[in-house]
């Protein structure tokens, strides 16, 4: 049985029209997804609606948006989990990114930071059976939901942010040939691990069960340890200072 759900969709066109919400009534089954609903609005009600999507199975990260105020990957967010028959869904773009139009944000600031950290996309897989040289993609899908949920990102656009810091922790923990000295410097900064207020919102919304806040805490512990070591002229921070 299809439900009737009202989608209230954030609309904004570059510059001209002030931002507003458009209501769309959608016939949708409870086990369909929010993205199914949005695609249907585009296909049958309003061809001007713009939104990001690609893989539809929680691997590319592009369909991230806010659903009733919470960051969701719309392709794996089932209608029955976020509303009821006759209910309303407020759909907005991610926060803390420049809005391009409607639900489309410009994710390039996050990719600049990810690029700075330089985490490879590929890691060695944990083999299910006999160890072999399998590899697989990193769990982080760079969807930007942690960046959107982070209250500190709202206060400072200089903050490196949870996604890039979690990547820094991954790279330092498992360098795979990457020179990590610059990553230490990037992490040990007032706009980096020390800016986090431990709200833990990032981990709450992560669709890959990542734990960016935990990664930031782990980086802090490593940095404190390195600082103590450097008092005795040892460790990576001391070597950096020495040239």
């Amino acid at each position: 049985m299809a439900w009737q759900v009202q989608f209230r969709v954030f609309r904004s066109s570059r510059g001209e029209v002030p931002a507003h919400f458009d209501p769309f009534t959608v016939e949708i089954k409870p086990d369909e997804t929010v993205l199914d609903g949005i695609e249907r609005i585009w296909a049958f009600q309003d061809r001007t609606l713009t939104f990001r999507h690609a893989c539809h199975h929680a691997s590319c990260g592009s369909c991230a948006m806010r659903v009733n105020g919470v960051e969701k990957l719309s392709c794996v967010t089932y209608i029955q989990d976020v509303t009821s028959d006759g209910g309303t869904l407020v759909v907005e773009p991610l926060r803390n990114f420049p809005i391009v139009s409607d639900l489309v944000v410009d994710v390039s600031p996050m990719f600049h930071r990810m690029h700075e950290v330089g985490m490879p996309i590929i890691r060695s897989a944990e083999p299910l059976g006999k160890p072999e040289n399998f590899n697989c993609f990193e769990n982080c899908i760079e969807c930007g939901m942690c960046v959107s949920a982070c209250p500190v990102m709202l206060t400072s656009n200089q903050y490196l942010g949870p996604a890039a810091l979690a990547a820094a922790q991954r790279t330092i923990a498992e360098p795979r040939g990457v020179d990590v000295r610059s990553i230490w410097q990037l992490a040990d900064d007032e706009n980096s691990v020390w800016r986090c207020h431990t709200a833990f919102e990032c981990g709450e919304v992560c669709p890959s069960n990542g734990d960016p806040a935990g990664a930031i805490m782990a980086l802090r512990r490593r940095l404190i340890l390195e600082r103590i070591k450097s008092l005795f002229g040892r460790g990576i921070l001391a070597r950096q200072r020495g040239g």
């Binding site: 590319c60 794996v76 697989c136």
Partner: protein, 388 residues
Amino acid sequence: MTKPVAIVIGGGSTGAATAHDLALRGLKVILVERGEIASGTTGRCHCLLHSGGRYCVKDQEAGIECIEENIMLRKIMPDGLELNDGLFIAITDSDMDYKDKFIAGCEACHIPWEELTPQQALAIEPNLNPNLKAAIRVPDGVFEALRFCLSFLATAKKNGAEIHPYIEVLDLLSTGQGAIKGVHVQDRTSGRVYDIEGDIVISATGPWAGDIAAMAGASVPIQPTPGVMVSMNQRVVNLVVNRLNKAADGDIIVPQRQTSIIGTTSWPVDHADYIPVPEDHIQMMLEKGAELVPGIRQARMRGVFAVARPLIASAGQADGRELSRTFECFDHAKRDGVEGFVTITGGKATTARAMAEKTADVVCRKLGLDAPCRTRDTVLVSYREYYI
């Protein structure tokens, strides 16, 4: 001398690779895509880096294309692929009857293969159906569709290409003398409507190729043929697992990141814009998937998706499974008497580079340019540089 301008329509794997190839050959490339990059067929593909094994018996042309490109992609996209190999496993007697044909097909297509005993296969993949009778290992792999496209586009941008998502082609611009001289577009982020002129227009719009060709009064024999895929919330295997038999519904599980994607089905539709998922297909995927990996029943369903493959139709072949997965570049000057307009369609994401090479060859010949293809050994930059 000013560079010739090539306008590429479509930001899926074919358009992305074509932009990259043409930019490397020194053309000024402008790519327009009506949605997000990879928001059409490529984005919702199975993410399988084909070894060619799936085609090596019935569609050897596609099988050979796949293995050649598979080997090349390992060189040019080293950081963007899960290289886990694939297994073709036999469970029934009918599967066993197919084994010799499969091995002969691999040999004919030059696909490296290795037979494993059931014990060896289960040692690598303990979750496989324990009743398997045979297993053949081939160099399948896995990519991530959005980043696959972004790698080509990032490199194209480094070589001067302009990439414009959210620009929809409303019409093709005609010279009035039987030639196309550009595109009439709308910026969907602002509503602004304007023209882009160029020396050649290339439609890389997959199952939408017929729509764009119609704007020029031309046609392409494309049959949009969707397939349903079901992604699970666990990675139940490390290798790609295929059924050792001729291609059928639900005969493959592709692991990716933390998920396993079961696919797929095949049915023809009239138009590719909106594909409703037939509910019985989902149940069938789960049942067929469990024949390969019984443990899939313990996983939860995470997402369901369907998208149209752009299969090239030929007379008398109505069933999508019978249509070749090879690609074709249509020069509409020859086909429909329309100059300045080329369509590339068909194919697989795995063969996107080869599709681009063939298209760029046609484009260069039409424009009188002597510029050899350089994509075979040009290592692509990181997909992240698309945003930088």
